[in-house]
């Protein structure tokens, strides 16, 4: 989230799209209700009428996988009716930047496209240099603040979205025109300076081959309306796990190391080359260009791992990703299936149910020599070898199970969606011999070190890794690890006339150094555990009257970066530092103290002296986003599996750059698989259901795999409510209980009727032991993904539903 949960209450309009927040983030509705009490409008856009829809002022159905068409129509509506916040757009976004002549967009393709070869995981690739800005002699982008230049971003935006008219959008999304208009009108009314609207989205937006561009579309709308950096605004990802924000910050994903630093690549063998490659340079003195500090953060991270080693040496010890290659989840399991590696740690996960295309995943596991399964219960992954269709005697994979304790049995922090790092003290002691993940990691590392001490290939990175600072006399220590993540001075250091002693904690990331004199496990968290104590453990509700108005509690827990609760907040004020929304001001320039009041500002510089978007090289919010793999403007493409063979927006039916594994069959307008399917969650279960299926009260409430479908579809297939039916895709099949409902309605798409069904993904064959729960929804989902992130497209793929044959279902 750019903002945080409480801040939802400050919104004038709340759009819930790509999520079912009422069901999956129930507590959010405490704050949504507060907003509604203050007169806010709630909009629910979803293929299915959900728990969230029951609370909404406006419900608009849309066919799964057509969000960009829907949002593109909104962009056109905002532009056509001059509803954008012009001052904001000119001062804080790149609307005025002039784009190079090399940039073109023709019939669904941007310039710079090259088709992928059949063995590549991707359908194609763009050369992004075609989308550059025109630059002046100082290397700064050329601008036209009148927004009239025909190649300025604003004019290109108009040109791009002029195709997204109501009739075309409605024919693709299936959303009735009057509903589209109602949503557009209500939402874009917040383009007024003192109004704000927010978006609550989750996996309903990310899990598409256009997932990143779904979110880009919304970010662009928020920039046009001046809704970023303000109270009740922002782009708010509702995280799917309590600590998924924290795990991402600390490098859950393959392409980053802690603090969103880039994974080293094979063409960058030295630290200097690495830092040069990822440190942006800007010659405009008004751009803070915060990432210019990159070397301070990378060097401090290296020192956190190897405090006694020169960073130029320890950099060479880090593993390097092959340049040009990506290592996403789907590719790793593809590589596992091709026997490209032998061992696998399945740590706190259940890929046999959670990964797209479960049959492929389960088969891949059988190619391993060994697997270590670290979890609170055995699961479909650790037990894959005796799962459905497996022949245990033919499987060579040796599985080790390490039982770990649950989150409430250990100390540590959880970073919520709003970036709040919240400290948790342990509850009951771990059961039996189960241990915390920290203890398992430390003990394992210690053993590996002992082995390597006896000799081994390339032993330096392992032998020199400092794990003492993660521990105390009792082994792993969450407190010591949190301190290391914050960081220490490694020698007495003088900064701005003040001496900071060796061994003391670094006050904030502005103090980190690139010469090896500081160490910090994650620069973003530098300021969370200082000489003043553990900031995340604070529970002080003190606030100023200004903070009280927007529900901001600066001394309750701690939030990255540097306790800033609403990021990009310099965009909430005009060039003089006066809030656009005085009744819900985030920051305001105090001319007496010559300082900012309210939230921690995005840099303390005086108003107007620096551009607002300090994390961007040029300092501006990106309406034109030339950094993405699939184009600088979002464009509607059909999902990789889709019910139509035409895209009225262009000749490109599907994303030309999606991750798709060309050799795997896809159902496109295929009469065998005529219905759109989406997976989703229910309140009662969590992820693959490993914790919740083992919790009797939750299993009581949601005991079995089900498939929601419209009455019309049930009639078409002769299906009765409550009967067990079969769902099939190109990749697999499973049974489910039919849940026939008026909450799904058929869509009218380009003159034909398209049905959509929905299934939860929390079930698995292993538990309940009698098999009464059913199996994983991911048996049906395709191995296709977003070109930027590789996230699989599980929210729109094609299936058939039919009555079960005699004896087909044994459960």
């Amino acid at each position: 989230m750019t903002n945080h949960w409480i801040d939802l209450k400050n919104s004038d309009v709340i759009l819930v799209m790509g999520s079912n927040a009422a069901s999956n983030h129930p507590i959010s509705f405490k704050w949504v209700n507060r907003a509604k009490e203050n007169g806010a409008k709630l909009i629910s856009v979803d293929p299915r009428f959900t728990q969230t829809s029951t609370q909404a002022d406006i419900y608009a159905p849309l066919r799964g996988g057509t969000d960009i068409a829907f949002l593109g129509g909104m962009i056109k509506y905002i532009l056509d009716n001059n509803l954008y916040f012009k001052e904001y757009m000119v001062n804080y976004t790149n609307a005025s930047f002039i784009v190079s002549k090399k940039f073109t967009f023709k019939d669904g393709l941007f310039s710079g496209y090259k088709e992928g070869d059949p063995d590549s995981a991707y359908r194609g690739k763009y050369d992004k240099s075609f989308w550059a800005f025109e630059r002046d002699k100082n290397g700064n982008p050329k601008k036209d603040v009148s927004l009239k230049h025909k190649r300025c971003v604003f004019q290109l935006l108009k040109e791009h979205y002029k195709r997204y008219d109501l009739a075309k959008v409605s024919s693709v999304t299936g959303t009735p025109k009057d509903k589209l208009l109602e949503v557009y009108k209500t939402y874009s009314a917040t383009g007024k300076p003192d109004k704000s609207a927010t978006i609550m989205y989750a996996m309903g937006w990310t899990q598409h081959t256009v997932g990143v561009q779904n979110i880009r579309s919304m970010a662009m709308i928020q920039l046009l309306l001046g809704n970023i950096g303000v109270a009740g605004g922002g782009v708010n990802a509702l995280r799917g796990e309590s600590n998924v924000q924290g795990s991402t910050d600390h490098c859950l994903l393959w392409h980053i190391i802690p603090g969103y630093l880039s994974v080293p690549k094979s063409h960058l063998p030295t630290l200097k080359e690495y830092n040069d490659a990822y440190t942006p340079h800007c010659n405009d003195p008004k751009s803070a260009n915060w990432w210019q500090n990159y070397p301070k953060y990378s060097v401090s991270l290296l020192r956190a791992m190897y405090p006694k080693t020169d960073q130029n040496v320890s950099y060479t010890w880090l593993p390097k990703a092959d340049t040009g290659k990506t290592y996403t989840w789907l590719q790793l399991f593809d590589a596992m299936d091709k026997d490209e590696f032998k061992g696998f740690f399945a740590w706190g996960q259940n890929p046999a149910c959670s990964g797209a295309n479960s049959n492929k995943t389960r088969q891949a596991l059988s190619k391993l020599d060994w697997m270590v399964n670290v979890n609170i219960f055995d699961n479909e992954t650790g037990s894959f070898w005796h799962g459905p269709g497996m022949k245990p005697k033919d499987i060579k994979t040796e599985v080790f199970f390490l039982p770990c304790c649950t989150s409430i049995e250990k100390e540590g922090s959880i970073t919520n969606s709003g970036r709040w790092m919240q400290w948790r003290t342990p509850g009951p002691k771990p059961l039996g011999q189960s241990k915390s993940d920290g203890h398992i990691i430390c003990e394992l590392t210690q053993k590996i070190k002992e082995k390597y001490a006896q000799g081994g290939v390339f032993a330096d990175p392992i032998l020199n890794l400092d794990i003492d600072s993660w521990q105390d006399q009792h082994g792993y220590s969450a407190v010591n690890t949190a301190k290391l993540i914050n960081g220490y001075f490694l020698k007495d250091t003088e900064i701005k006339g003040k001496i900071y002693k060796k061994g003391t904690l670094v006050p904030s990331f502005a103090f980190l150094q690139d010469d090896g004199s500081t160490k910090s496990g994650n620069w973003l968290y530098c300021n969370s555990f200082t000489e003043k104590g553990n900031m995340a453990a604070r529970m002080d509700k003190t606030q100023t009257p200004m903070q009280e108005k927007i529900g901001l509690y600066p001394q309750w827990s701690w939030c990255w970066p540097v306790n800033r609760r609403i990021i990009y907040n310099r965009a909430s004020v005009d060039m003089k530092g006066t809030p656009y929304a005085p009744e819900k001001a985030v920051i305001a320039w105090n001319s007496t103290t010559q300082k900012w009041d309210g939230d921690v500002p995005d840099g303390g510089w005086a108003p107007g002296s620096k551009y607002a978007f300090i994390m961007r090289k040029e300092g501006f919010g990106q309406i034109f986003g030339p950094g993405r793999e699939d184009g600088p403007f979002p464009e509607h493409y059909e999902p990789m599996e889709c019910p139509v063979d035409k895209n009225p927006f262009s000749k490109q039916l599907r994303s030309p750059v999606a991750m798709a594994f060309a050799k795997e069959e896809k159902a496109v307008c295929d009469p065998r698989y005529p219905f759109v399917c989406s997976t989703y969650r229910v309140t009662e279960h969590w992820q693959t259901g490993l914790m919740t299926r083992h919790t009797p009260w939750l299993l009581e409430a949601q005991p079995q795999m089900f498939c929601e479908m419209s009455k019309e579809l049930a009639k078409l297939r002769g299906i009765e409510n409550g009967e067990k039916i079969m769902i099939e895709s190109v990749r697999g099949k499973l049974w489910a209980v039919a849940l026939v409902t008026s909450r799904f309605k058929p869509f009218e798409i380009m003159g034909t009727t398209v049905h959509q069904v929905g299934i939860p993904w929390h079930f698995g064959w292993q538990y309940p032991e009698d098999g009464s729960g059913g199996d994983a929804a991911n048996l049906l989902t395709p191995s296709v993904g977003d070109p930027n992130t590789g996230i699989p497209e599980t929210k729109a793929f094609m299936v058939n539903v039919r009555k079960a044959k005699e004896g087909e279902i044994n459960a």
Binding site: E37, T54, A701, G722, L739, R743
Partner: protein
Amino acid sequence: MPKAFLVDLSRCTACRGCQIACKQWHKLPAEKTKNVGSYQNPQDLSFTTYKLVRYSEHDVQDSVKWLFFPEQCRHCIDPPCKGMADDYDERAIVQDPETGAVIFTDFTKKIGDLNPEELCPYNIPRRDPITGIWSKCDMCLDRVQNGLLPACVQACPTGTMNFGEREDMLALAEKRLTELKKKYPDAQLLDPDDVSTIYLSIYPPSWYHKFAVASAKQPHTMNRAQALAKIFPALKHRVG
């Protein structure tokens, strides 16, 4: 001072936190359930399910209404169940004079195997076929007496479940009713004068559940103990 629940149905999102919290606090076992083509489970209240979120779907013109009804004992101010049970054993059902909570004891086994509707106009209590004991929501009296909210109220994230002094709950109910009436002309409080679990509905009560309001079938005749209690309130408390 008498206590009351206000259940603001306009805010319920069917997260079922209340249903689970009730089972957790009372250490009640889970039932083996099946999906029968609905989100609702278990299908009915039982000896081990005191609180149940009921789901119902209604096609209204072009749109669908999906309604949720977190069902529980109403803790009637003059509980008909007690009137009935007193005929079998005055210790079977007692009413806490402080809060108004209607509490079932093990002596309810003397009541025998009745249709719950005979005992309760809201069809709430359920009998254990093995022990013959009847059970239902106890207002989490053990929690309330220790200054805690009932488990279902504590768990509710949306403000659907509210609990406090009856006077305060009635005031809150009136305030919410006034606000909701602007958008939902059918909004109403369900049997507010008779019960301590006051539901605020925004659609016709029968859309939520057959027993959302008291069943007309229930003969509201008072037995001897109830009649005496009406005349001598102190005596009624002594019975408890």
